[in-house]
């Protein structure tokens, strides 16, 4: 499904990683490990096609992701350090705009429901400016409930979330994986998905990390 061959990334003058190869099948989760500055975020952004690799190739179903272009970005959902939500819009508006841009417009009721599931009952109609850090994160993560992308790339999704939200998010991730989706994530927390679908990849461990 997703294959990475001989990938190398350079940031500034520094080589972050090189000759990185792995593959990810449907129904698998890849857990990225690595100390700060080992290139986890860069790797994830490269896998999303936001950063251009300096060597190697990333293939989605056998085709280079740069050749696929928008066909590939349709399959990818990325949640990065930045939430990508507008402070002056309400949670519902934010969610509906991002869903519409992702190519599957949702009704107001559906967006409302997703936010309630994320534990934002009573906050759906407030401008995001007044929400707390964790609540903003929940608005951003509510996209996971509405999106139909197959590959989720989640960069530290659990930061700023409380225990209940972390549990809920883990169950969503688990459900996605069990229904044949793919997940790549970084977190310093333990991922409790007990079946053997979890792959681990350590960056900065040796010169090159392989799975």
């Amino acid at each position: 499904m997703l294959e990475v061959a001989g990938l190398a990334c350079v940031r500034g003058d520094r080589k972050l990683f090189s000759d990185l190869s792995f593959s990810l099948q449907a129904g698998e989760l890849l857990h990225l490990h690595g100390h700060n500055g080992s290139g986890k975020t860069t790797l994830m952004r490269t896998l999303c096609s936001l950063v251009r690799e300096s060597a190697g190739e990333i293939r989605w179903q056998g085709e280079s992701i740069h050749k696929l272009g928008e066909e590939y970005t349709r399959e990818v959902l990325y949640v990065g350090h930045k939430n990508g939500i507008k402070d002056d819009l309400t949670g519902v508006e934010n969610l509906r705009v991002s869903s519409a841009l992702d190519g599957n417009p949702v009704s107001r009721e559906r967006a409302w429901e997703a936010l309630e599931q994320m534990g934002l009952r009573g906050h759906e109609d407030l401008p995001s400016r007044v929400l707390s850090q964790g609540q903003k994160r929940r608005v951003a993560l509510a996209r996971l409930l509405l999106n139909r992308s197959r590959l989720w790339v989640l960069d530290e999704p659990f930061t700023a979330l409380d225990v209940a939200a972390v549990d809920f998010l883990q169950s969503i991730i688990q459900r996605h994986v069990e229904s044949g989706g793919m997940v790549i994530l970084t977190t310093h927390q333990e991922v409790r998905i007990t079946r053997e679908q979890v792959k681990e990849l350590r960056l900065g461990w040796k010169e090159d990390g392989r799975v």
Partner: protein
């Protein structure tokens, strides 16, 4: 065919290009020095005095080649920029960057000598002549490129952003030039233009060509030695740079 193709890409790697450039720099420096010396001698002693413009016209032997070079260098930069964006070669960005200061200097030189020429001919340092104005805008384009390069810390982004800017500029240059020309004819400003004042004799043309070739060789020499420093700077971590004799000593 294919073996030749691979060869080109081999030279686009900094490690192979660095020593090659090192051998080329002295050759082109010598050519430049010789041609410019001959050109200057011809422009001062061989070319005849212009019957209308007197001795002052001799500055066009610097002015016109400098103006040619400033435009030509921008085109060469656009060529490297396109190459870099399409093939993603590292060397292209370095070449674009190495050429820009020389291009800016030639644009400035053309303006400066234009002013020197204008003072005795027109009685003012600056005339809003279409060519001078276009040259000024070209200088602005060079300065914009240099400023953008200076502001970006990440080399890769600097190369690609700079390449895009140069391409946008090269598409715009004809539009800018024709609009300035139209503006100029419309306003009936001083429509005297340099080098059309009198019919040029063959010797004048030859002198200009020799000077232009000298400037061209100079540009190559300077750009290559600048590329060498850029390569050293960017590849400082690699083993091939650390094994160079000049680095180890």
């Amino acid at each position: 065919m294919s073996s030749r193709f691979i060869n080109w890409f081999k030279f686009s790697s900094p490690a192979t290009f660095y020593p090659l450039a090192g051998r080329m720099v002295p050759v082109f420096s010598l050519i430049a020095a010789a041609l410019i010396a001959v050109g200057l001698y011809m422009s001062f002693f061989v070319a005849p005095t212009d019957y209308k413009q007197g001795e002052g016209y001799r500055i066009i032997f610097v002015h016109v080649p400098a103006a040619w070079m400033s435009m030509f260098i921008y085109l060469v930069m656009a060529f490297w920029a396109a190459l870099g964006l399409v093939f993603n070669t590292r060397l292209s960005g370095m070449m674009t960057r190495a050429l820009a200061p020389t291009g800016a200097i030639f644009a400035f030189l053309a303006l400066w000598t234009g002013a020197f020429w204008g003072k005795p001919m027109w009685g003012t340092w600056w005339v809003w002549d279409a060519r001078l104005t276009s040259e000024l805008i070209l200088l602005f384009l060079y300065l914009g490129y240099l400023a953008l390069q200076g502001a970006i810390d990440d080399n890769r982004r600097a190369d690609r952003a700079g390449a895009l800017l140069v391409l946008v500029g090269v598409v715009n240059i004809p539009i800018i030039h024709y609009s300035v020309k139209w503006w100029n004819t419309l306003h009936q400003g001083a429509s005297v233009s340099i080098s059309s004042g009198s019919s040029m004799s063959a010797i004048m043309l030859w002198t200009m060509l020799i000077m232009a070739l000298g400037f061209w060789a100079y540009t190559i020499a300077v750009a290559l030695s600048r590329v060498r420093s850029i390569i050293l700077e960017r590849e400082a971590d690699t083993t091939w740079v650390q094994e160079l004799a000049e680095v180890r000593s």
